[in-house]
């Protein structure tokens, strides 16, 4: 039985990494008395996936997990109740439903709070909206590349002294909330320390069907 579970990740639990979250959920399901289906092959693995990796430190009100449980008659309300008792502090199961056709994340909405005066944030948003492009350097241990943040997150909007921003996931990648913050800071010509990032919602889209191609010469 394939189930799509929605969770909130709050408080200190937001500092858990993607891998830690997967392990934690597997253990929580087992503690709640559910057996997880294993994949086939030489090294069977529990079938579980999280729709969209979450940056360490980012809270979430819409964490989506798809998991396959052994058996096909699980009461989903009881599942939420049992999981609520077995998840660690800050990991809150919200609802569960039978998973439909496979989907992928197409984007996410974030709320970014700042430890900065509201008018400075407003100025930054105005300058951001007026910019044609906002190149930000992305560094990883292996490479450096430039990401145009504006392309993925075109319209941040004010929400008090915070902002709400939709970040799209396109075929060639996406931007990170932290990169939106850096882009805003560069627009404001000032430091804009973040006071917390929360993922509010994840937009899902049907998973494209890959057609097998045959080449003829």
């Amino acid at each position: 039985m394939r189930i799509e579970l929605r969770l909130a990740i709050r408080d200190r639990a937001r500092f858990l990494s993607h891998l830690e979250m997967v392990d934690l959920l597997l253990a929580a399901f087992r503690r709640a008395g559910y057996e997880i289906t294993l994949s086939n092959g030489m090294r069977p693995r529990p079938i579980i996936s999280l729709a969209l990796a979450r940056g360490v430190g980012v809270a979430s009100e819409d964490e989506r997990c798809t998991i396959e449980l052994v058996g096909d008659s699980h009461d989903l309300d009881a599942l939420i109740e049992r999981l609520a008792a077995t998840c660690p502090r800050g990991v809150v199961p919200l609802d569960a439903r039978l998973a439909g056709p496979k989907t992928i994340a197409a984007g996410a909405t974030y709320r970014i709070a700042f430890d900065a005066p509201g008018d400075l944030v407003a100025q930054a948003v105005d300058a951001y909206l007026a910019s044609a492009e906002l190149p930000i350097e992305r560094r990883s241990p292996k490479q450096r590349r430039t990401v145009d943040v504006k392309r993925f997150a075109p319209e941040p909007r004010l929400d008090g002294s915070a902002i709400i921003v939709d970040i799209a996931i396109l075929e060639d990648g996406s931007a990170k909330p932290e990169e939106v913050i850096r882009a805003l800071a560069s627009c404001a010509n000032s430091d804009l320390p973040s006071a917390g990032v929360t993922r509010l919602a994840v937009a899902m889209a049907p998973k494209p069907v890959r057609m097998a191609t045959t080449e003829t010469t």
């Binding site: 408080d11 200190r12 500092f15 997967v22 597997l26 399901f29 660690p88 502090r89 800050g90």
Partner: protein, 589 residues
């Protein structure tokens, strides 16, 4: 929940450091007791992923929270990036459960599992913003208590620790909690604690102190709900301690003396605790732990009963001996596992007689043969180099055994068979309270020559070799048998930047060499120095229960290349460990 002014400051730090989950707490089975009148912070002086896997600390955490009115919380040594950030932002060391400062606790209890964590002990105390030396502490500071196997020679840390706990803490800890609850000033607390025979308080002088033995281990219930670590822990599995103590009498082994006599847990309790732990942790693996699990007389029955309930469970049996059928046991316990570890420790009969490892070449070969026959494809064998009276024959013996094991493997799996014989050789480090406590380590140059020889000889298809770092072994040797002057060197090294010495990327040999020199000592000379049995030892005031006469006799027996029998089967050897109700307790004699 009450406002915690440290919270925003800690959260800011967590966005800047590697693996912030090391510091967040909130794991499954964590205990919160906000209204407790006594707060104890239990510390493991290494990173979270090492410390959370320590079974002893899990036992004590469960015991204080479950059986006393006190609250036990946890703390691990912050990784250097976090420690530097904490110092920069003046954030004091905090417990994982409540993010409250450790210095506000009534007691900081530090477990000493290895000498290479001593610099981290000072790091923890300093990060907690507590004065490093006991003599500088006041009523505002918690009592700092240290226990665990390395506390058996307390002298290297005697300047920094207020109270040392000798031996097994299950019963004594409850009495300590009562005292912390009853009296509140530092001096009163130390006065009352000094009345307990298993505590050593350096400020009160070198009074004799007795090792505590948990006589009721066999009838006590095993812990049911350990804290479940986040994914980064080195061991993430349920574990039940099936037996405490070992009387095999290996002459290099500290635990073999320090945890005598043997006390086995009832099979029914092992099975029940194991199954309950699996249920309340969500683990899919269970480990039956002890110093030598294949010696546990109920092991076959325990495996059978657990497998009857959970046939697909991954059941691990660490620390198996060559001579008690580990292959058959492991095969029964786990059909998925393909690697097996054997610990002959020495490759020649002469050396095994010297160290009292009562196994023969035939037993080793039979175990290897059975392992390959049972389908194992990786055999790891542990050896020690630099043992007392070692000659080149013993080093060559390791090479010969490696090739013999490969030959047996090829007989089963073919010339080009896909299997590994993994030889792991550590360097002998003499430990206090053992028959080899008077022996020196082999000089580092000699060890390096032996390492080079093994590297040249053990290579090729299906063979793998790993060797322990000589530099850290030397430091372990110099610290383990040290005295209070060694303590001065520890402080100097830590002030120079020593921390996380067990991690090769953080170990700086020069800090330690210079620190020993500043204390008027030579590090290598300390490690390699043979002690005269007539000279006093720094830990003479610590009574392990095993008499010094017995250890000395064993030392002489080693020189005569004569092993001593195991008192479980070969009669009492009069070591002194059994007193009153404290004696070997086997479940299936």
């Amino acid at each position: 929940m009450e406002h915690n002014p440290l919270q925003p400051r800690i959260e800011r730090l967590l966005t800047q450091v590697e693996k912030p989950s090391r510091y967040i707490g909130g794991e499954t089975n964590e205990t919160l007791k906000p209204d407790a009148s006594v707060r104890i912070a239990f510390a493991y002086p290494d990173a979270y992923e090492v410390g959370i896997s320590n079974q002893a600390l899990q036992i004590l955490y469960g015991l204080v929270n479950g059986r006393t009115e006190a609250a036990a919380e946890r703390v691990y040594c912050p990784w250097p990036d976090m420690a530097d950030a904490m110092r920069r932002d003046e954030v004091p060391l905090f417990t994982l459960e409540t993010w409250r400062p450790v210095r506000d606790c009534d007691m900081l209890g530090i477990t000493l599992q290895a000498e290479l964590t001593y610099s981290n002990v000072l790091e923890l105390i300093d990060l907690a913003q507590i004065p490093i030396r006991s003599e500088d502490r006041t009523d505002r500071d918690p009592i700092i208590l240290a226990g665990g196997p390395s506390a058996s020679n307390p002298m290297p840390l005697a300047h920094f620790i207020d109270v040392f706990f000798m031996g097994e803490a299950e019963e004594g800890l409850e009495r300590i909690v009562e005292i912390l609850d009853a009296v509140k000033t530092r001096e009163e607390r130390l006065d009352r604690l000094a009345e307990l025979p298993f505590l050593y308080i350096p400020a009160r002088g070198e009074q004799p102190v007795e090792r505590a033995v948990f006589a009721d281990f066999s009838i006590d219930t095993a812990p049911r709900a350990p804290v479940v670590p986040y994914a980064s822990a080195i061991f993430a599995r349920a574990s039940v301690e099936v037996m405490r103590g070992c009387t095999r009498g290996c002459r290099f082994c500290h635990a073999g003396t320090w945890y005598r006599p043997v006390r086995e847990r009832k099979v029914e309790d092992v099975v029940k605790a194991g199954l309950e732990q699996l249920e309340c942790t969500g683990y899919d693996e269970l480990s039956l732990t002890s110093l030598a699990t294949s010696d546990y007389s109920g092991v076959a029955r325990a495996i059978k009963e657990i497998k009857a309930v959970k046939p697909d469970l991954h059941l691990s049996l660490p620390s198996n001996r060559v001579d008690t059928g580990p292959v058959a046991l492991l095969a029964a316990a786990n059909s998925r596992q393909r690697s097996i570890t054997l610990a002959p420790e020495a490759a020649t009969q002469r050396m095994r007689d010297i160290i009292c490892k009562t196994i023969t070449d035939e037993m080793i070969e039979k175990a290897i043969d059975s392992a390959f026959g049972a389908g194992y494809t990786s055999i790891k064998m542990y050896f020690m180099l630099g043992l007392p009276l070692e000659t080149f024959e013993e080093v060559q013996g390791i090479v010969d055994l490696a090739f013999r094991a490969r030959e047996i493997g090829r007989q089963h799996l073919g010339e080009g068979g896909k299997f590994t014989v993994h030889i792991s050789a550590s360097n002998f480090v003499p430990k206090p309270h053992t028959p080899f406590q008077w022996s020196g380590m082999a000089p580092p140059d000699q060890l390096r020559v032996k390492h080079d020889y093994l590297r040249r000889a053990i290579h090729g298809r299906q063979l793998k070799l790993s060797l322990h770092d000589v530099r850290t072994s030397m430091l372990e040797g110099a610290l383990g048998r040290g005295d209070s002057i060694t303590g001065d060197a520890i402080e100097t090294a830590w002030r120079a930047g020593a921390r996380f010495d067990a991690w090769s990327e953080h170990h700086h040999e020069e800090h330690w060499r210079d620190a020993f020199a500043a204390a008027g000592r030579d590090l290598e000379a300390e490690a390699t120095r043979e002690r005269d049995p007539l000279d006093p030892l720094p830990w003479d005031h610590v009574r392990s229960g095993v008499s010094k006469e017995f250890l000395l006799d064993e030392w002489w027996q080693s020189r005569a290349e004569r092993p001593t029998g195991d008192c479980r089967w070969d009669g009492c050897s009069d070591c002194g460990a059994c007193v009153g109700p404290v004696r070997n307790r086997l479940v299936e004699a």
